[in-house]
Amino acid sequence: MSSLIFNMKRKTGGAQARATRGKRVKNKENTRKAILRAALELFAEKGFYHTTTKAISRKAGIAEGTLFNYFETKEDLALFFFEQELVEIIEWYERDRRMKRAALAEKLFAIIHQFLERLAPYEEFIGAVYLRALAPASKLSPWSLQTQERNLRYLRFIRGILAEAEAAGELPSVGDFGAYAFGLFHLAIITYWLRDRSRGKEQTLALLDRCLKLGAHVLRKGGWDW
């Protein structure tokens, strides 16, 4: 009897352990998200430079020491932020029915615009992070080890869209180069956007639209009619 109970206990204990492990991973993920949420709120409220790790941990309801288990630096926070954004944008793109029918230039416009809309509340944070990303040793640099996974996911996403356009005859074959070029263009637009002081950042909208239309035109015609 006792052994039976013991066995039962062991069994339930194993299942529990597995469940707990799964739960722990999930909890960990949730905590990461909670920290990011708290940090972003504080950035929007007080500004990136004036937000302390203490304030973030207090807002997220964790000990300050625990915070460092999740994010060593603010850069790691930014890395996670961009990862989340990318995941959500890919989800949005796949959900959005209008995007399926849109022309290539509109699809690409909408993707960058979605990014910018999501960055908008945290402009100062993004600006600060952006400056740091330019340092060669930065984790945020587009060439750093830490950003490679995200970059590849992004490139695959864009390459998929370009491949569809190629198949539909909207675009000549551009191969992987197309996705890389678009990625660089995307970075350039974010830089422009950060500096754009026009109302509602409409200059960025105009630039984005014109560049994409021009780009599509150049690729279709195989050159630029000077």
Binding site: S198, E202, Q203, D209
Partner: protein, 444 residues
């Protein structure tokens, strides 16, 4: 003839064309050619230019949209400056030009109003139903169930226009110096275009004209929805009706054409005489015709206030007052062409003005003036000739008073519209009605 200098201007004109201002560029080139070639070569070149320009105007302006498009539109009313073939191409541009895709229109709406259109309207059609000069118009239904038209401006249009004009000014410098592209005209066009970028101003205009034309029961002017309007997004009640070409496709009766013709003139006269302002672009795209004879007026972007006395000018035309004495000739010319132009230069226009008046203002004052706008080819060619002479004189003697140029443009726009419509109108009767309304008797 200083060939190298002139062809330098031509080259510059065409190079500018490649930069996107293709219409203006080739116009500068064309004007320069006019000076270079003799009559016969000129005729050939002219025909080729017209075709080429028309095609290019259609392709490039439609592709570029924005400022160049607007310039094209303004110049299309600038009948003196552009050949008929190009005009016809431009006329087709006015209602249907490609514009922003749905994602950009939404983005621009949010950039201006802070929310996406679907958050502010009950329904919003992401596909535009009409191209406006500097943007496009979408159908929508407001939260309280009113059908609306939402005009959205292409982003950052203002700075784009300013840049284009800088370019235009430097590129047309030779033309400005020779008087072929009057600087005052450029100023006037730029002022008009920039004014049109402010939709709040347009909202004011809509309200002004809505009130001012309320006495004419057949006129429909959109009502502004201020809470859904900014300087870049204009929401107004939707006006039903089709364009002039839609109307003509249904082959309306002559009586209906005449009725509409009289109404168009009455609207026009009420504007210049009573409101002292003109709903600017009198081009076909800005009128909506309803089967019951109601006329909708849309696009109040570029409204012109008139400070000179139109009635007095008409009186001068009718009585040929300049024949009376030098003093009255001076008065007439100052009225028509501004005070800045020296009399010695201005008076050269008088013989052509006489011809012009013979066509439009018969001296026999006892009879009513009835104008038949159904294309009389003999009258047409005569008018074209007069117009060409007039243009030549105006350009040569720099007789362009911006305000007068504007009214002439509007006059010609109306004339063009009535020609298309093919109406026959007793103008004197219309004038009497307008005068009676002004005196408080009310129309009809």
């Amino acid at each position: 003839m200083n060939k190298s200098g002139k062809s330098g201007a031509v080259a510059r004109g065409f190079r500018l064309g490649k930069l996107g201002l293709s219409l203006v560029g080739s116009y500068a080139g064309y004007q320069a050619q006019n000076l270079l070639f003799g009559e016969s070569t000129r005729a050939q070149r002219q025909a080729r230019f017209h075709q080429k320009a028309s095609r290019r105007v259609r392709d490039e302006l439609a592709a570029l949209k924005g400022p160049a498009m607007k310039l094209g539109q303004l110049m299309s009313m600038q009948t003196g400056m552009l050949p008929e073939e190009a005009l016809q191409e431009l006329a087709t541009l006015q209602m249907r030009a490609p514009g922003m895709h749905a994602s950009l229109a939404r983005a621009q709406f949010k950039s201006s109003l802070g929310k996406y259109p679907e958050e502010m309207f009950r329904e919003f059609d992401p596909e535009p139903f009409a191209a406006a000069s500097l943007g496009q118009v979408h159908r929508a239904v407001t939260r309280d169930g009113e059908k609306a038209a939402v005009k959205i401006q292409y982003p950052a249009i203002r700075s784009a226009i300013e840049n284009d004009f800088k370019l235009l000014r430097s590129a047309t410098l030779p033309g400005q110096l020779s008087g072929h592209v009057p600087a005052a005209l450029l100023d006037e066009i730029q002022r008009g275009v920039l004014e049109e970028t402010d939709y709040l101003r347009e909202a004011d205009n809509l309200e002004f004209f809505g009130k001012g034309l309320s006495g004419l029961e057949y006129v429909a002017v959109p009502r502004v929805r201020r809470e859904l309007t900014t300087d870049r997004v204009l929401t107004m009640s939707h006006i039903e009706g089709g364009t002039l070409s839609d109307l003509l496709k249904r082959k309306p009766s002559q009586a209906f054409r005449d009725l509409l013709g009289a109404r168009l003139i009455e609207m026009y006269e009420t504007q210049i005489q009573r409101l002292k302002a003109l709903h600017a672009d009198h081009h076909p795209g800005n009128y909506l015709f309803q089967p019951d004879g109601r006329v909708g007026l849309v696009d109040f972007g570029c409204v012109k206030r008139i400070t000179f006395d139109v009635l007095e000018l008409r009186r001068c035309y009718r009585h040929r007052t300049w024949r009376e004495s030098e003093a009255s000739a001076r008065r007439f010319l100052a009225l028509a062409y501004g005070r800045s132009v020296p009399y010695a230069r201005a008076r050269k226009i008088l013989p052509i003005t006489e011809k012009w008046c013979d066509a439009f203002y018969p001296q026999d004052v006892t009879a009513d003036i009835v104008i038949d706008f159904r294309g009389d080819s003999k009258l047409d060619s005569k008018l074209r000739e007069i117009r060409q002479q007039m243009r030549k004189r105006l350009l040569q003697d720099k007789l362009i008073d911006p305000e007068f140029a504007f009214v002439i443009r509007a006059d010609l726009g109306l004339h063009y519209l009535l020609r298309e419509l093919g109406a026959k109108v007793n103008i004197s009767e219309v004038w009497r009605r307008v005068a009676a309304a002004a005196a408080g008797v009310g129309p009809g």
